[in-house]
Symmetry: C2
Subunit: 217 residues, 2 copies
Amino acid sequence: MATSTEENYLKTILHLEEEKGAAKVGDIATELQLTSGTVTTMMHALSEQGLIDYAPRKGLKLSEEGRLSALQVVRRHRLIELFLVEVMNLDWSEVHDEAEDLEHVISDRLLDRMDEMLGRPTHDPHGDPIPDREGKVTVVVSTSLAKMEVGSYRVVRVSDESSDLLEWLNQKGLTIGQEFELSREDRAAGILEIRRAGEESLQLGLEAAEQVFVEAI
Amino acid sequence: MATSTEENYLKTILHLEEEKGAAKVGDIATELQLTSGTVTTMMHALSEQGLIDYAPRKGLKLSEEGRLSALQVVRRHRLIELFLVEVMNLDWSEVHDEAEDLEHVISDRLLDRMDEMLGRPTHDPHGDPIPDREGKVTVVVSTSLAKMEVGSYRVVRVSDESSDLLEWLNQKGLTIGQEFELSREDRAAGILEIRRAGEESLQLGLEAAEQVFVEAI
DNA sequence: ATTTTTATCTTGATCAATCAAGATAGGGAG
DNA sequence: CTCCCTATCTTGATTGATCAAGATAAAAAT
């Protein structure tokens, strides 16, 4: 139905709606690295197909149908990422781009095989929830490490935007589920210190900590 | 480099060159279900890129570079098919279309993981050879069952053109490596009879037998 | 040698996705 | 209330892939 270009627009709109409450033409353009004129054109096309409610200059939002389509794309993306990590033994830092391409091409049949093989998982390698076939998502409650005070925490999610960060975290063993102690927060210097039993303590910049989401334990 | 459309043209040209000695504009058009005008246009583009040697109205053939590109696409296609059968447990009758899409999208990194996981295989699920990274292929000597006389044979390759036939063969256990006896050839009626120890005998039309390649044992 | 056939080529048009450049509307500044 | 800024929109052009219809050349038939 939707072309892969359209799928990418839908995914971006969903992302922006979750991130900032609403998606604006300019933000979509920035995220997809396109000019706003191009985005405007596509908004008409998506509106035509009933995938978004669009009132020129007033705003736009995903229709129920559009939201479901977007969630299916997200589902494909995250299942593929998990498959690449679990089955193909790729690193969590290198699966995003691959999934970005595969998500538009994989058949429902193959996707279901992956899903089955992985035991109908609910979360991808970065801790993001995998929508089920009906588009339902299990919400993860977590707060950015950057906002936390000294105490004990568990990593529940890491933003997959920066593969450099993912690589570093992986190397340091700070993966999903990992428990640690936030032993020092030096806000002035913008540095957090992390400790784990039997490991050297780690220093982490606030920038990076923004991307790591944890729950208290 | 080449778009996936171009990759499909290259693959088709390679296929026709192997099949009939040379690829003609009209045959490419038939195989890809396009008009010959469209193909002519693409011939200019491929020629421009040095992927084929093209003399309008006189003929065309893959250049060395084009042949290597085509072989890489074939390699991707066949490795993916084998992966889908061996790892994802899909049936050999349903992997062709999936591979057709995936072959243009999968990264070299992921492809190599598959290759490694499968133990650097040399043949796909239909018995077709998988070109190596340099484009070298291990040729399989085999003759169509349709041309054979009464005797003992082993299945070494099956054309993957008809998924119906593949399904039927699979159901009857006539898979790659299977040994059997051609017990009767009734050319007039266009029917062959096949026997295997402890199995009921099978009747196979010449049409179908054309697609099954065997070696004498 | 002339005609006919048929494959191949060319041309003009279309569709999706895009950009650059210029037009416009709506919200805030004065 | 008027002006201006900025986000959004419109327009005209481009690129890749395609088709339909008509032109042409090479081969085959007479």
